[in-house]
């Protein structure tokens, strides 16, 4: 009984590929292995990290989560205290205007 595999083997010789056989090819250079298995992923990690963060840093975006979305800036007149005043301390006659865009 001829199976499909044996028939295929009869048509196409399934020889061991060059470089797979022999004891001399089983020796692995450890330095080369470490470089390939550890160095390349590490290099890839660094490349991806740089590709992700550098554009944000160039644009000046913030990188730390949890920070307020807008950094507070005070300009001009000195303040007496950092505490917000209560309703009683507010200038009752304060005026002005509001707007949104």
């Amino acid at each position: 009984m001829i199976t499909a595999a044996s028939a295929l083997a009869a048509v196409i010789p399934l020889d061991v590929p060059v470089g797979w056989g022999g004891d001399q090819d089983r020796d692995v250079n450890m330095v080369h292995a470490v470089l390939v298995l550890g160095g390349l992923p590490l290099l890839l990690f660094l490349v991806i990290t740089v590709a992700v963060y550098v554009p944000s840093l160039v644009r000046g975006d913030r990188l730390t989560p949890g920070q307020p979305p807008v950094e507070n800036h005070w300009l001009g007149g000195p303040r007496t205290t950092a505490e917000l005043a209560g309703p009683d301390a507010q200038d009752a006659d304060a005026g002005g205007a509001s707007g949104r865009w």
Binding site: G77, D91, A94, S98, R100
Partner: protein, 132 residues
């Protein structure tokens, strides 16, 4: 950053320019100007009034608050300032600032707004009749 989006980050150059504008406005109007750019509470008006009350001389001060995230601008004027700077004039200034902010120009809007507020807040000059 999308077109028209306001960049809330102020560079050192921006701060110098704003400080100079504030200084000139204060010299012109004899009114204290303070600018707060940052995150305000949900009720931006009440928050701006509270900040205004923390100033050294609230009655003689003008506070300009801009919350880029909420796209809100508030101008609070003290009771003394309101003698020369009317709320209607402030509304016109706020409208002018809004147009700058909508175009993404935070510093330009602030500088223009402060200049306009100072011009309006300037006490009217007394005209003296000369007698011969």
């Amino acid at each position: 950053m999308a077109a028209g989006e306001l960049n809330a980050r102020l560079s050192a150059t921006d701060r110098v320019a704003l400080d100079e504008t504030i200084r000139k406005a204060e010299q012109l109007s004899r009114v204290e100007f303070s600018v707060f750019v940052g995150h305000a509470d949900r009720d931006t008006r009440a928050y701006a009034v509270s900040l205004h009350s923390t100033l050294v001389a609230p009655a003689r001060s003008v506070l300009v608050l801009v919350d880029p995230a909420a796209r809100a601008v508030e101008v609070v004027t003290g009771s003394h300032v309101r003698r020369t700077l009317r709320d209607g004039q402030v509304e016109l200034v706020v409208a002018q600032m809004q147009s700058y902010f909508a175009a993404g120009d935070l510093v330009g809007g602030l500088r223009r707004g402060i200049q306009m507020l100072a011009e309006h807040a300037r006490a009217p000059q007394t005209l003296h009749a000369e007698h011969s």
